[in-house]
């Protein structure tokens, strides 16, 4: 999962959790606050009533002849006060929620009970306040809070996502930089613009790492080139000596054959060194890419080269060249070598009466060359190491070093041509070359 998505999800979940917790606790808290508020009010009322009684006496409320109780409530039944004689002996001073029947209507009240004595008679004072309006208010508040929370969560979520995007943008450009490079030499060294020091450090660490890798690669290539050069001179000396020997007329056949054997071995060494040198040179971009040429012509030239060999082995070489590409900014001899190596490989791996097809067309805007045979094919294992150097599929063939396909692959990479292979044992092999889209 992407970091951006993870952050956004976490953000959303944590906000929802907080909002949920708040919604859960809010009614309780609000209720407590309201009740305390009401209680204070009730106590105030009680004090008022008590002070009124102490001022004007109990008589105005309760006369000895009339009923033992006095009650008063406002029209909306919001509040009431009642006073009655009681026979209770202990003191009462409590506040509770209780329902009272007033005019045939049962209403929940917060009720304050208070007992006091006047002239040796105990009276019970009740002051009540209706809870219905409060409950109603609480509900309203809950709705408002819910709406508000939804609004806040949504807004902050989007703001967070936007900010995260902004914050993570340098990271994305670093990732993009990494994605683009098949070769550390091509790593974009321009620093990513960011004020986040962590990203700056990551970026500079990566750049440094790439430079290190690159210099190691360069050194390796230099060593390959240097060793190859050093090897080529002694090979050259040996070769000239042997060739001169071969020209002597006084030699018997056995010595002649021995010299030729030695020359063959020397050629193998020479081929190996030259191949390594060639790969190192291509990889260190020593070949120029400034030719413009027709791929069709290159293929036709190669087919002409290979045809006699193929025919000699009883292989039919067919071509289906339907499209043409004027390939520019390329190296003709390298491209020639690439196709030649692959086609030659096909000839070597196709038995007599087999068929090789060279196809050339345009697919989805990309120019495409296919070389397919119905030869011996390859297993997955063989396929996986097809392009690696010095891993010959068949040790029995004495010619060649098995490095031809590795060279072809190096050339393809150098030209950014995509090579893919499909193969099945005893069914055949198909090489596809997809040329870069803008060529």
């Amino acid at each position: 999962m992407k970091l951006k998505l993870k952050l956004a999800l976490f953000n959303l979940l944590s906000k929802l959790a907080f909002a949920g917790l708040f919604l859960l606790l809010m009614p309780y808290i609000v209720e407590r606050i309201n009740l305390r508020h009401i209680d204070n009010e009730l106590i105030l009322k009680r004090e008022q009533v008590i002070s009124l009684i102490s001022e004007i006496g109990i008589e105005p409320f309760i006369t000895s002849d009339s009923a033992d109780a006095f009650g008063s409530f406002n029209i909306l039944k919001e509040e009431f006060v009642s006073l009655e004689k009681t026979s209770l002996t202990e003191d009462v001073n409590q506040i509770e929620v209780a329902s009272r029947l007033i005019d045939d209507e049962e209403i929940d009240y917060r009720v304050l009970n208070y007992s006091f004595m006047v002239d040796g008679q105990t009276f019970l004072l009740e002051v009540g306040k209706s809870l219905s309006s409060i409950l109603f208010a609480e509900q309203n508040i809950r709705h408002i809070v819910l709406l508000f929370l939804i609004f806040i969560v949504t807004i902050t979520f989007f703001v967070d996502v936007l900010y995260n995007n902004l914050l993570l943008r340098p990271l994305h450009s670093i990732i993009k930089k990494l994605k683009k490079i098949p070769d550390p030499a091509l790593f974009d060294k321009t620093p990513v613009r960011t004020s986040t020091s962590d990203f700056r450090r990551l970026d500079s660490a990566l750049t440094e790492l790439m430079e290190n890798i690159n210099s190691l690669f360069r050194k390796e290539k230099e060593i390959t080139v240097n060793i190859s050069h050093e090897l080529l001179t002694p090979v050259s000396v040996l070769r000239s000596k042997l060739e001169n020997l071969l020209l002597r007329e006084d030699m018997d056949e056995e010595i002649q054959n021995k010299i030729e054997e030695s020359l063959k071995t020397l050629h193998r060494l020479q081929t190996l060194v030259n191949s390594l040198l060639m790969i190192a040179r291509i990889e260190s971009h020593q070949y120029l890419r400034e030719d413009t040429f027709s791929i069709k012509e290159v293929l036709q030239d190669i087919i002409m080269e290979i045809k006699p060999i193929a025919e000699d082995s009883g292989i039919t070489l067919r071509k289906e060249i339907t499209d043409e590409l004027q390939y520019s900014k390329a190296n003709r001899s390298l491209i020639f070598s690439m196709f030649y190596n692959v086609l030659n490989n096909s000839v070597k791996n196709t038995p007599s009466l087999g068929e090789i097809l060279v196809k050339c067309n345009r697919l989805h805007g990309n120019f495409n060359v296919e070389i397919s045979d119905n030869g011996i094919g390859m297993t997955e294992m063989q396929k996986s190491r097809l392009f690696s150097r010095f891993k010959m599929k068949d040790k029995s063939s004495s010619d060649g070093t098995g490095i031809g396909l590795a060279i072809a692959k190096t050339i393809a990479d150098f030209h950014k041509i995509e090579v893919s292979v499909t193969s099945e044992p005893s069914k055949g092999t198909k090489f596809s070359f997809i040329f870069p889209g803008n060529s």
Binding site: H229, L232, T233, V235, S236, V237, L238, R239, S240, K241, E243, N244, L246, L247, E253, Q256, N257, E260, L263, K264, L266, H267, Q270, T271, N274, S275, L277, M278, R281, Q286, Y287, L288, E305, P308, I309, D312, S333, L334, F336, S337, Y340, N341, N344, K348, D399, G400, T401, I403, G404, I407
Partner: protein, 228 residues
Amino acid sequence: MNVLIVEDEKSLALEISEFLKKHNILCDLAYNGIDASEKIAVNLYDFVLLDLGLPDYNGLDLIKEARKNNNEASFIIITARGAVEDKVRGLDLGADDYLAKPFALTELLSRINAVARRKFKVSTSDIVLGDFIVNIQSRKLLCSGTEVDLTKKEFDLLQYLLLNRNKVLTRHQLYEHIWGNILDDQYDSNFIDVHIKNLRKKLNLHAPAPWLETVRGVGYRISIEEKE
């Protein structure tokens, strides 16, 4: 013809000169750049075989010096460096050809001959091969008046064998001459055999060609009696 061989690897220089002397080419040797520079200034050479990797001298400077002094010598660059820029720079400076080490001595001879043909505009006389006549200039092979239709590769093979007549050429030497170094890694002795087989087939349609010999285990040879 006389040639100066500029090569710091003594034994290689000696082998080259031994080979060229057999082909009636006069050879002079220089093992370092200063020596070479002097010799080029003093003597008139037809060819200078120049190794670019000299310890004391940038080989390319020798070409510049020679050109400044209006020296007419043709330069054939020999180098193990083989880097593309060297090749391009060398040819830009007016070198006539370029050979990468290690090369076949027969290939060197063929290059010298090719440059000489261009330079001196010598018309090589027709070569008689049994019932066949080879004309190098027009690249034609005739048999009692009718042209034998050969592919470019087949004629190249014939010409190379002819240049080194009475000498065995190995398959690899032939392959290198025809396909060059770029396809070296794909060397397959079968290639030459197939082309020789095709060449023989075409020749035999016109007349027997016993002069094209297979030297068992080694390679091929054209044998003709030189009439001096």
